[in-house]
Symmetry: C2
Subunit: 231 residues, 2 copies
Amino acid sequence: MPVVSYAGPEQRPIATVDIVLVTLNEDGLRLCLQRREYDPHAGELALIGGYVRPEEDADIEASARRILASKARLDGLYLEQVRSFGGPDRDPRGWSIAIVYLALVPDERLAAAEAAGAPRFERIDPDHCPPLPFDHGRLIAAALVRLRSKASYSTLPAFLLGEQFTLPELKAVYERAMGTPLNDSAFRRKLMEMQILEEIDAKASATAERKRPAQLYRLASRALTEFDRTV
Amino acid sequence: MPVVSYAGPEQRPIATVDIVLVTLNEDGLRLCLQRREYDPHAGELALIGGYVRPEEDADIEASARRILASKARLDGLYLEQVRSFGGPDRDPRGWSIAIVYLALVPDERLAAAEAAGAPRFERIDPDHCPPLPFDHGRLIAAALVRLRSKASYSTLPAFLLGEQFTLPELKAVYERAMGTPLNDSAFRRKLMEMQILEEIDAKASATAERKRPAQLYRLASRALTEFDRTV
DNA sequence: TTAATAGTGTCTCTCAGACATTATCAC
DNA sequence: GTGATAATGTCTGAGAGACACTATTAA
């Protein structure tokens, strides 16, 4: 059998990974955007991203983790591939493919990375995001659709919190991620029945804002868990 | 601002689109695989696929539709991107990215294309699929997970049928796609309440097998519709 | 004790599954 | 009519939402 001539290197599209990094602060969900260091669009606010590097990346997720490490000094985050976009006009450098990842980072971890010298991010309200370079707007839209829908049937929102959290905190994150209020007793009932949480032998401290201290929990599994029903 | 040196063409990964083409015949869901014409793995059964061609494709879905047209003489199918896989070892030609698409084709359309001279497909039971070249096994697994889960909350299974179908036929497709039996009256109730179907002024003909003829329906929208609940 | 949040118990209403019943065809 | 499939009607049980009620802390 003949080996057919195939697309040589000069005919290959550019391949990049772009990361929709999301955090949660007291105001709600926030996109983490950086000003671009280099052209095209140097100085403009955009997603962090970079080239897939065949010489060093073991797979696409490795590219994403390398980019998170180099541009945000973050590792071990929740990370999920969303989808890929391609076309001749989305990048002035030529026909390109962007593989989009959704990454979730607890507020404190992001602040700690910045305090330790990582490049700074601007936290942008996804509902009031200015126009972005390239087609980053639609990349973000795709990632947020994934976030919102998967929030309702998985432990995904918990990855916006630190390792320990209270039930009222967890409920608030679910509401923020899903964009809809939840019933309190039903939320407790379902999470307890699903045995997703482990009780920690400690309670959150009471403050002026927090009267009765709440029980602390952690995820029973450190990996994402999907439910057969909705929270 | 400087333009940073970027990954030149010689450092770009290979980019291909691979299509998990699924049909439904009297035996159930079937993968449509072809024997490869060229090396690597010439003569072996595999997914249809091809290179992303920057010089002619407007986006990645266009690559997928071009491949479906050229390798199966099929157009207008239900087509959905699943995800992308990448790595140094999945293709002997080098570090490559495969963008996986799920495509659904009604049995009669596929048979008609083959009768009209299109390359022939083998229909493979996904539950008894032999080992495949490259990493096509995991590409198929990812596509089938998508098919099975999306079946329960969308009109996706209907794209395995022709334009007109009866409710018992539709229920059977949902059961095949989801892999679980459904309650008959609940299925009718929900589909009717969701107003997804349009009644056609005709009934299926009765046969030795089909006693009372069933009402014919078509999808109210030719596009995929997602539900807020499960069928 | 009061105020504020955390957590529990219970009622009701909705909806899905089960299944009996009716309808419509070929023979 | 008989037999088979199509379609409808009704009962029941599980679970979600609503909300009243109890618990625990700071001040």
